[in-house]
């Protein structure tokens, strides 16, 4: 069942937005303006946009370290997300977190814990609270193929399955964990089957087909909301950049990258909008232009934003204490 064409058009906008946002982040990471490590989601736009689109704002979202794309779609003012990546005082977390830690409780973006696998068990808590309080919010974990190696993942799925907690494990299989291919670090052919051992329903989805992503995610979210417990979905995709901006990614064959570039999720959606839904080219190119302007205006905001006030470093360690402990 295909998505309504208006929804697909909106998803196209969101995917183009992620692409443009990340390309600009790539430039500013490589030229040294953005400090630290920046993990880009270029190539994975369909999975990122599609999953978020299947959720409600009140669902608990746990983006991973490659989480800019998810974080700009959760409802936070996007320029504040970008400002956080720049480490500016105007950032959503005042510059304390940076690219890896874009957290916004107001939209239930639960943020990323730099320790891989960690959010899989934290999410049990938000899922438990949903059940406890009798609401139907789902806890949705974005995680990489590599992250599935962490022991915490086993503890999480075991408990979620036993207690039928409303948890959704979104395994974004982009083939690699840094230099290590998933076939070299896991025995399963498809990681989705990992959930079989826990009796958790699972499926493999083409992670570059945004419609398939939305549909599979909606089915899983529905199950969770109905009290039928967790689901694991494996979204097959590929990251075009290295592990972080500037990583030459010498560990993978060029042909493989090229093969996946040919499966570009953005182009693919565009083709559907043009060929199947008959949108005129102009509507799509207007979206693309609008996105460029939108990202440029965020960028301007970031570049003009002040550095954080140093005293900000001392805030928010404890409730009820002043700046100095």
């Amino acid at each position: 069942m295909a998505l309504l064409k208006e929804r697909l058009l909106d998803l196209y906008y969101k995917m183009v937005l992620i692409r443009e946002f990340e390309e600009v982040m790539d430039i500013y990471a490589k030229n040294g303006t953005i400090p630290g490590f920046v993990h880009l989601g270029i190539g994975q736009e369909a999975s990122q946009a599609g999953i978020v689109d299947a959720l409600k704002e009140t669902d608990y979202k746990y983006p991973d370290h490659r989480g800019h794309g998810v974080s700009i779609l959760c409802g936070t003012d996007r320029k504040l997300v970008m400002a956080e990546i720049f480490g500016k005082g105007t950032g959503i977390n005042g510059g304390r977190g940076g690219s890896m830690h874009i957290n916004d409780i107001k939209v239930r973006n639960m943020g990323f814990n730099g320790i891989q696998g960690s959010t899989t068990v934290t999410a049990l808590g938000t899922a438990f609270a949903s059940v406890y309080k009798g609401n139907k919010d789902v806890s949705v974990i974005f995680m990489g193929d590599g992250t599935l190696g962490e022991g915490a993942c086993h503890e999480s799925i075991n408990m979620a399955a036993t207690w039928k907690l409303p948890v959704l494990y979104c395994v974004i299989n982009n083939q690699y964990a840094i230099s290590t291919h998933y076939r070299e670090s896991h025995p399963q052919k498809q990681l989705a089957t990992w959930a079989d051992g826990y009796g958790v329903p699972n499926e493999v989805v083409d992670g570059n087909d945004v419609e398939a992503v939305v549909e599979a995610t909606e089915r899983a979210v529905e199950r969770a909301r109905n009290g039928d417990g967790p689901t694991l979905i494996e979204y097959m995709t590929y990251r075009w950049q290295g592990h972080f901006a500037g990583d030459p990614a010498a560990y993978r064959p060029d042909e493989e990258l090229q093969e996946w570039k040919n499966k570009c999720p953005v182009k693919r959606t565009k083709a559907r909008l043009l060929d199947v839904h008959g949108f005129p080219e102009k509507i799509l190119s207007d979206i693309e232009k609008k996105v460029v302007d939108e990202v440029q205006s965020m960028l301007k905001f970031c570049l003009e934003s002040p550095e954080p006030d140093t005293k900000e470093a001392l805030k928010h360690v404890y409730a009820g204490f002043g700046e100095e402990i």
């Binding site: 190696g149 670090s185 560990y251």
Partner: protein, 326 residues
């Protein structure tokens, strides 16, 4: 010995190559350590020479450290890499409740000669989960050896000594050091474990400094020398078990102590040194002990914030002046 200038990272790499060559029981294990040669490039070239003795793993720190300790009991000498020291949280049980206690649990009949290499400390703008100074997490665990080099020379010699040591070693590599160059002999050599080094001799005040703080202490000492204050700098190098004598003797001589460490002040490395000196050589102290440390907060991301919470050479200079003028 033939000296040349190589980087801290290269010095560690060379130590690994030479120990792998010397002893068949040495192997490396960790995430991306084999084919790629490590996230910081420290294990380059090992897998190419010894494909069966260099293991890339899944993201599974508990399994990495657990496997290392089990293999060590069987006489192998694993050198495990944690990509960042902070990730030890995931494998804490294996290190603290297993590896550290094996000898004790088996009446001394079992050894666990393993090394866990762990990039530690702040300064590369990676925020609170990739910048912590983890040494005090382990200093409270008898059975572990904590090694913390501050030069390429020490990095090579201390790693070789650590691999040959019979007990589990946490080998801390300050991540701001990797590209810093220094004189390192080409040959294999050991720098003695459990032995502090007097980096600079002086009369008026002792600075005990670790890792990134050693260079800052040296800068402070130069500055203070211009003002007529003579500084002695001690780098413990093995943080635990500690070379108490070298520190106590120095403090008995100068009568004043400043400790410079990265990481929060509360219950840090400096707290132990201060307590030891007060217990052992109190009668020689002419002034209260001072600690220069990171502030008691998580490490923030923004360079402006990170630089604000981490100590500088000026902080060390001021602390020294304060104890001298007391």
């Amino acid at each position: 010995m033939s000296m040349r200038k190589i980087s801290f990272g290269k010095a560690i790499n060379e130590a690994l190559h030479q120990e792998m060559e010397r002893d068949d029981s040495v192997f490396i294990i960790g995430e991306d350590v084999a084919k790629m040669g490590g996230d910081f490039g420290v294990t380059r070239g090992i897998w190419q020479k010894w494909p069966d003795r260099a293991k890339d793993t899944a993201l599974s720190e508990s399994a990495i450290i657990g496997l290392a300790s089990g293999a060590a009991v069987c006489g192998l000498r694993p050198v495990a890499e944690l990509m960042f020291a902070d990730f030890i949280g995931v494998a804490f049980d294996q290190l603290v409740n297993n590896a550290a206690k094996l000898r004790y649990m088996f009446n001394g009949e079992v050894s666990c000669p393993m090394v866990v290499r762990a990039p530690t400390g702040s300064g590369i703008r990676t925020a609170y989960h990739h910048s912590q100074s983890v040494e005090p997490w382990f200093m409270n665990v008898p059975g572990l050896v904590i090694v913390a080099p501050s030069t390429p020379y020490e990095a090579k010699g201390l790693l070789i000594a650590s691999i040959r040591n019979e007990d589990p070693v946490i080998f801390l590599e300050h991540k701001s050091f990797y590209s810093i160059k220094g004189d390192v002999p080409e040959e294999s050599y050991e720098v003695e474990l459990f032995k502090a080094e007097v980096k600079r001799e002086g009369r008026d005040v002792t600075i005990v400094a670790t890792m990134s703080m050693v260079a800052l202490a040296e800068k402070a000492a130069e500055k203070l020398a211009e003002e007529g204050i003579s500084v002695e700098i001690i780098d413990p190098r093995t943080l635990f078990p500690l070379d108490k004598d070298t520190i106590n003797r120095s403090v008995a001589k100068t009568g004043r102590l400043v400790i410079a460490q990265e990481g929060p002040k509360v219950m840090g490395f400096g707290a132990e040194i201060a307590a030891m000196v007060v217990e052992d050589v109190f009668e020689y102290l002419k002034a209260p002990v001072k600690r220069v440390t990171t502030m008691d907060v998580p490490i923030p991301f923004s360079p402006v914030l990170e630089d604000y919470v981490v100590p500088t050479d000026v902080d060390i200079t001021e602390a020294c002046k304060a104890v001298v003028e007391f």
